[in-house]
Point group: C2
Chain length 403, copies 2
Amino acid sequence: MAGSLKGNMLIAQSGGPSMVINQSLAGAIIEAKKHKQIKNIYGSLHGIKGVLEEKMIDLRKESNAVLEAVAHTPSSALGSVRKKPTSEECTKIFSILQRYDVRYFFYIGGNDSAETVNIISEESRKDNYDLHCFHIPKTIDNDLLENDHTPGYGSAARFVACAVMGDNLDNLALKGVKIDIIMGRHAGFLTAASALAKVHPDDGPHLIYVPERPFSMEKFCEDVKNVYDRLGRCIVAVSEGISDEYGIAIATKFIKETDSHGNVQLSGTGALGDLLSGEVKSKLQISRVRADTFGYLQRSFPGIASQTDAKEARAVGIEAVKMAAGGEPQGSIAIRRKPGKKYQVYFEHVPLQSVAKNTRHMPDEFINSAGNNITDAFLKYAKPLVGDLPKIGRFKAVAVKKQ
Amino acid sequence: MAGSLKGNMLIAQSGGPSMVINQSLAGAIIEAKKHKQIKNIYGSLHGIKGVLEEKMIDLRKESNAVLEAVAHTPSSALGSVRKKPTSEECTKIFSILQRYDVRYFFYIGGNDSAETVNIISEESRKDNYDLHCFHIPKTIDNDLLENDHTPGYGSAARFVACAVMGDNLDNLALKGVKIDIIMGRHAGFLTAASALAKVHPDDGPHLIYVPERPFSMEKFCEDVKNVYDRLGRCIVAVSEGISDEYGIAIATKFIKETDSHGNVQLSGTGALGDLLSGEVKSKLQISRVRADTFGYLQRSFPGIASQTDAKEARAVGIEAVKMAAGGEPQGSIAIRRKPGKKYQVYFEHVPLQSVAKNTRHMPDEFINSAGNNITDAFLKYAKPLVGDLPKIGRFKAVAVKKQ
């Protein structure tokens, strides 16, 4: 049977967009065209919502020029959705897939999306419907299990590193305390990437707080005071997902909205930054305290994608189609790093269950013992994913003798 | 006497940093080296604060390679300050300038900085001390009088246009209302630049609010509802400086801090965005409403400066030194645009008084009659300042027939 199952293909995108998620989409479409058993190539609009509503587009009608232009464009060109299908919806999805003679189903997204693919795959087995179900990895949070890193992370990390690089320069010119709130609900990888901004020893970020360590407001103020007393300024990178010792996110005390996966809205508000800057102002009596929440720019800013990230995102889309067309019933494509000095990766076929639902966290070796910064091991890990950053010039600054 | 006054030069940077303010600094230093009557070249750290504290560096000790690297680095390499000198401080500044044999004084900044140069120039005349005082224009707000546009604006505008471009794509994927808060205390030029993000007719920003028109919360909600009902989504660009019909900034109702020029802190907080998104959520019963405040990234993000902006910033630094070395006692360099289809500028020497203190606003022809968007005249004005933006791909999207 391998490679012989004839039918249509359906591909969709889910969850938060990234700068390179369309690379995976383009890679999958271009690869699919090489396999004769794949007939029509349907793109479902807004993930499984587009299946349920039968809103699909014909991706064979898109020229190569358009495919390439879309590949280089941030965000999800087919639209996205944050939706976990109910078992009733799953039944409906299969009847629709059958009606459209879909035999190859690809879903690009994070762990929530992998869970959705897994549910659909299981339902198809129960229904005895022969469907190749593949998850194509994407998450700027870098929190998928099995993966060394995930497509989307390198580019978002590049944005964060550049932003904090500029912020550090701004804060050198006009000193004070600057707090930057960075995306990352449960994993601190993206916040940690701020450390790549450091060029000179006194550069920020001076403190980095990730969700993997309990956040204490008192310890935070103490840390800021220590840096401020030493340098006259302090840049702090804070993950939106920081939580107290009971695991309760600091931001949830202020924000109530949740999506259908039960996730609280942490982005799209400046509340956490304002809370932290208010604390520093009042407790430490420092007048110039500012907070910026990087927000959606981290995953959608055009023109600055990491080239390594773009290339790998394309590759996982290609690999998934190759696997499915080769006869594999289900799975996901994991990115693994080869040991050795030179940065090299390979792609591995892993079962859906191994990446679905659960999230990966920063390993202990990436976080310092005080829990307020990252280690050199993280820098070594992250540098090749992000690529070369803009060059920063600084004066030698020979003091003029007082006259 | 023209060109014969021998002595030292002092240069400093003031006010909010920009992505290209160091281009002006490098231009001035490189030009100064060509004039034999200019002996030492001192860089004062953190504007006039560095003069008062006699904290200066020897800029002749910097290599050309360092000067070029600094030129391409965002933010103020000499440090900045937000300080209006008292008359007592001015007296002290002159005694220090005299002691250091400074005859050429250059201050790179906005209208507040021009006012500072003007005060120092007047004081020097009162004191009968022969000092060439020049202001070198810089402001991302684009609100200097006499100028077609100002160095720093094109690059910040480019950041804003790219950010909203990405935001529009993100919002196409996951629909809702998105509010972006953009810098600009009294002038809407930077917020207006968000309109450059539009590629397709349905692209955002769909609504643009600038400080030049009174902001009404009721009208704002009505506008958002109209767009949302039509497109199922709405992207809104809002200037941080929007004010009510009595001229009171909407943000000042929440934020109290001011600098020594009496300016209220509008940046470095997410309060305005959260206020507006809260209103939309509660009044319009729309669940997915997000707000991002672009913050300091607008003026400091490395690697994306407008090439036109960088070139012109370099040129005004060169021109100011040429004027001063040529014997002009005081002034500023204004950028004028030549009439005609092709974008071309020239530089004009204007008196300090003409750019000091007051701010320029968006001309009426740049704002639509409803006061909730900008006009094609603005787009025509702003495009050449920002340069080519990243290419955006979009599917032709041929619908699959329902089966």
